[in-house]
Symmetry: C2
Subunit: 253 residues, 2 copies
């Protein structure tokens, strides 16, 4: 990594970076607001861009037959941007442990006001064994650990949801991506579909968090469970053939 240091040994690489997005027609719901699924996709796209630029993107990891998997994500929003509005997403690595790394996000609107923040935890896995790899093996990433957190609660380990079956269906062609798996955005879409339009009209989502536990592949039978455990505190679980694929939480106000 010596080429990335000046002669005095001071790091010269940029550890925080800002990416611009415009909310597209396909990203919005019936109220012209960006959907939680599209917003999640923007965050993950930002993470991908930044990791790529810094030399530890998916394609870099693929060279060693490894890949990133998203373990947990928490998002807090003050305001959801509307169709055609522009946002800026700032992202940086907070810390790099042995088993996982934390990447944070700050979302600003066109007036440069912070409208949202997010925290994500990632593990590096071997693509064949699907087992977590020690991040100490990943050259370069440690220089990017800024130690800077965001002012929100980190994603926690969520409890299981034992009742409240909403629907059961088989995973189809349009649900899978180029890896043959259902991607994170689809999980968020299925969770978002548990609410009726009146809820979206009367309330707003202020916090969303999700734990990813297992991948879902084509043809598997998926069940979606949802429960309001306290007023405006909604818990979700997506199960497939007995195993938990993800657990999630939406807090509204």
């Amino acid at each position: 990594m010596s080429n990335k240091f000046s002669q005095s040994g001071t790091p010269q690489f940029k550890v925080k970076k800002v990416y611009s997005f415009q909310i597209q027609p396909q990203d919005v719901d019936f109220q012209y607001q960006v959907t939680l699924a599209a917003l999640t996709n923007i965050l993950l796209t930002t993470a991908g861009y930044n990791a790529d630029e810094n030399g530890f993107g998916i394609r870099d990891l693929n060279k060693n037959d490894c890949s990133w998997v998203l373990l947990r994500l928490a998002v807090e929003m003050k305001d959801f941007p509307l169709q055609y509005q522009k946002i800026e997403v700032e992202t940086w690595v907070e810390e790099v442990g042995r088993a996982s790394t934390t990447r944070n996000f700050r979302i600003r609107n066109a007036e440069n006001v912070i409208i949202g923040q997010a925290v994500s935890n990632w593990a590096m896995i071997n693509r064949q064994t699907r087992r977590a790899q020690d991040l100490i093996l990943l050259d370069g990433i440690h220089h990017f650990a800024t130690g800077e957190s965001v002012e929100m609660q980190k994603p926690i380990k969520l409890a299981s949801v034992e009742s409240g079956l909403i629907e059961t269906f088989k995973v189809k062609y349009s649900h899978i991506d180029i890896n043959g798996h259902t991607n994170s955005m689809r999980y968020v879409e299925w969770i978002s579909n548990c609410f009726d339009l009146e809820t979206y009209q009367k309330k707003k989502i202020i916090r969303f968090e999700i734990n990813f536990l297992n991948e879902i592949v084509f043809g598997e039978e998926v069940s979606i469970f949802a429960n309001e455990i306290e007023k405006n505190d909604f818990r979700f679980e997506i199960r497939k053939n007995g195993a938990t694929a993800c657990k999630a939480r939406i807090v509204m106000s």
Copy 2:
């Protein structure tokens, strides 16, 4: 319209135009190929751009409390573009009748080879009554009728599909657009989901056509029917609460 004519009376407006697109990651399936739904979306986006530019887009019609509805679409493809590939879509109005207008498309790849063609039929409706309006009332569009067809069979009136129930489900939050309806792209997605991955691996779609009959709104129960009436000739029907929402056909080879 006098400002659009030269002094000799020759039309000066451009009646055919080409729009460029790049196939994005969210547009492709597990084989990195653009999905039929994403391709349909590209065609409808192209139609929207061109109608807007020529003064008879949705927003122009909205001023008179009217809107466009897509009645029928037929697409023939020699080749489906892959992720990140660039395509050019040429579009023009073929004819303008009293009850409907025909818009055609030609799709070229980056090597300027024609990889697909399409024909679409549209009606103008009143937004309150949802009834078709006489296109003679629409100022300006008639100058764009080129009379030029594409070398393929136009979309025909498809027969009903009486058996072969694939699935039944309720229309949810992520299925509806800003008008509160399920949009055309979603119909195509549901039809595409009737095939397993092996079919997509072994065969290719050479013709797709669809008749749109009724809109679907949030909460309605939808049933998808599919039948292979002859080898590689697949017929579909989407029904909601007894009425037919659309009928479609996919021919593979």
